[in-house]
Symmetry: C2
Subunit: 461 residues, 2 copies
């Protein structure tokens, strides 16, 4: 059987595949920090070269930000299955606080852990390790049979971790080239680190950054303390007021478009037996902290949130400085679900902040970005084919699940290209993506490649 | 008359005195930042040399932190007045945010402004410019008459801006050497930038730094947002709860020891005609923001405060990172008045924070320091002599006033050495001490020297 030879090839080639991933991980392609701009470009070049080496005609395509990588392979002879567009991102999160990394984040290494072998380094799970599972599956098919099994195009982005400013214009300008039958997106995880999963429900996101200003300069707290308002106090009060005592978000109209779970999805999720105690215990927490009347799985998959992702103001260095600062700053993100409208929430947030400012205070907003939540239709037969392929590879049958994270690309593929997405990934809950000591399990990498080899075979049937 | 020749000498020597101050200002003696440790040492050496050049036998004295400078001059023949200990500090505040300085903070310069000539640079007003007014007055007496007019010792500290950790042990160990009849402290200002003043009432201070911790590592807000508590939210709620709606501080027992103003002081302060609109207008504020039922002068001189001086947590760099942070941090200071007990407020603050932590959250406190408020007795005849000398120099008669800042040295002189202090200084409200573009008016520097020359003459009468 054609597939068996490909799987055997993947098994035999694992050491070389790992070396290729390590090479990609060594490129510090942090997209949000302009200091690493050249490294993002280097990562794009690396991918173009690697795709060309397996017969995918790939190019680096410039944008006003970091480049896209687009590639197309020839359609196999006699192929009647779907033309797929595989998406991944080659950029990574910043690495601070650097001192909490056990090893330098861009000197990746293979480590033996109690839970098995892992690939440690920034981007190993999010998303370089994941995107390489697909490339390696293609490489094995090409090596064994001389052709790819399905009609494949690829799109790799370099701005996913910095709000994807160039993505929507790029999709619009290249819609004819990029619109295929279905998208494959590898940026998600196994359910509870064990059950292979196709994510059909994704939260959206609205991000806000703002500065509260009081006096026109920093003041001495002895000369003005008690008389002049303190922007850190004002900011703290505004943040504290964003949630009520039951954990609900207080913005006007915030819950417009939030739907209750359907009975079918609710019972399917209950069937998953989510172990929230273990999920929280992994990070040394024990008590769900969100809305009082929601289950933990609802909280992270189907309920909207408001989180402060960063706050700063006044003197934050060593020692003490009795300053009464002129400014205080915060970065806030809202996770969105159902039909919540990011623009409406942006307006409601601004109105809330402005209404809460005392006399003499002002606010400046910057860098707001929004993407609505996504919901896939599983009527497309590709979903059941992929679910079968995943169930063949892994010890447990694959499930349709939700995801608390925001992967705006799925919404953009739907809105701009009219294309559904299958979100399949092999990350684990303890991968520490966006945190120090990020890792990707060798098993995820290995079985991930095998999973894609199987999925491509199924799609070609 | 002996004094007239000294005042003329001060006038003639102003250019050289200015050059000496600029030389001292060029030494970046930031005490709170260990990177500037050697510079603090250099500043101490500079002062030792300068004091020796005017016949004061000075030494650099080591401490576990930055050195003290101690000097003693011979008693003038036939002198029957008080032996004074002059105190100043040669260390300065940090300079961030550096980008808000128009010129490098340690490249001081003379500037012409609409309000007159100023000396611009970190430490020009707080406290190098002020302490040099005293040294220059001594230099002029020495140059004209060959002797100092009074019996003088000096103590210069290098840790005033970083909590003075070495001060109390040093005073205890050297109590016999340092206990004189009265202390002269030059670290305060003119009232409303115009009225020469002797400060008789100083707020104390309790500083707190603490970290709120939730999960054991930074989390992805998509994976945990809504389920795991956010330490920035917890910190914000705690800060918001430190004041009630009327501006009062909510800590248990916080107002114990806070006295109402006596009728005499209240009427004297009313007589000052404090222009709070101008005071706030200087920094583009218009509305007093503190306790609703207090006058602005009470707020800054005789009422206790609670200010957040710094806050930080999560991602604060460029761009966006959807982190749900493990930790959030704040630096808070309380200004104290009357008989408020710093230790009791420290305990009450810790109890408040601990009581407000949700499940799974913890707090770590560090670096708390306290100093009680000070109240001078003006029965000592030196006070009226100094008030007369100041009234002779300046266009308006001198007043006894309060001060919102904390100058713990006055309390330590009283508690440890049993010595009263006269707090006399020539700073102005717009000196921007602790802020970018700190300056000292040339008039303050010049008339400050002349004021000390007169005060020393009066004390010798």
């Amino acid at each position: 059987m054609k597939l068996d030879a490909v799987l055997a090839r993947i098994d035999a080639d694992l050491p070389d595949a790992t070396e290729r991933l390590l090479a990609l991980l060594r490129i510090p392609s942090i997209s949000t920090d302009p200091a690493f701009s050249a490294d993002c470009d280097t990562a794009a070049d690396w991918l173009v070269n690697d795709l060309q080496s397996i017969g995918i005609n790939a190019q680096k395509r410039t944008t006003p930000g970091h480049p896209m990588v687009v590639g197309h392979a020839d359609c196999p002879a006699g192929y009647t299955g779907p033309h797929v567009l595989f998406y991944g991102h080659y950029d990574v999160q910043p690495v601070d606080p650097l001192e909490l990394w056990d090893n330098p984040p861009f000197e990746p290494a293979i480590e033996q852990t109690k839970k098995g072998e892992v690939i440690r380094g920034r981007g190993s799970s999010d998303d370089k390790g994941q995107l390489m599972t697909f490339i390696e599956a293609c490489r094995a098919w090409k090596a064994v049979h001389g052709v790819l099994p399905a009609h494949i195009s690829v799109l790799f982005e370099g701005e996913e971790e910095s709000g994807s400013p160039s993505l929507v214009p790029f999709l619009r300008e290249n819609a004819a080239e990029l619109t295929k039958d279905i998208a494959l997106i590898c940026d998600t995880g196994l359910f509870e680190s064990a059950v292979p999963a196709i994510t059909t429900q994704l939260r959206g996101m609205q991000t806000e950054e703002f500065t509260i200003t009081g006096a026109s300069r920093d003041l001495h707290s002895g000369m003005y303390g008690g008389l002049a308002g303190n922007p850190i106090h004002v900011l703290s009060g505004l943040i504290a007021g964003l949630h009520d005592d039951s954990g609900r978000i207080t913005l006007d109209g915030f819950y417009d478009g939030v739907q209750e779970l359907g009975d079918e999805i609710r019972s399917q999720w209950q069937g998953l037996g989510f172990d929230h105690a273990a999920y929280l215990g992994d990070v040394d927490l024990s008590v769900p902290a969100g809305e009082h009347d929601r289950t933990p799985l609802e909280m992270i998959w189907s309920r909207p949130t408001c989180e402060v992702n960063g706050i700063w103001g006044g003197y934050t260095g060593d020692g003490f400085k009795t300053v009464l600062p002129a400014e205080a700053h915060a970065k806030i993100s809202f996770r969105l679900v159902g039909d919540q409208n990011p623009d409406a929430i942006h307006e409601s947030f601004k109105a809330y902040i402005r209404a809460g400012l005392p006399d003499d205070f002002s606010v400046a907003f910057s860098d707001a970005r929004g993407a609505a939540a996504s919901q896939m239709s599983i009527d497309n037969p590709a979903f059941e084919k992929a679910r079968k392929a995943l169930s063949d590879e892994w010890p447990r049958p694959a499930a349709y699940i939700g995801c608390g994270g925001s992967i705006p690309i799925a919404g953009h593929f739907k809105d701009i290209l009219g294309m559904d997405s299958m979100l399949i990934g092999f990350g684990r809950d303890d991968d520490q993506i966006h945190s120090p000591n990020e890792k990707y399990d060798m098993e995820s990498f290995h079985k991930g490649m095998r999973s894609w080899a199987r999925i491509l075979a199924e799609l070609a049937e």
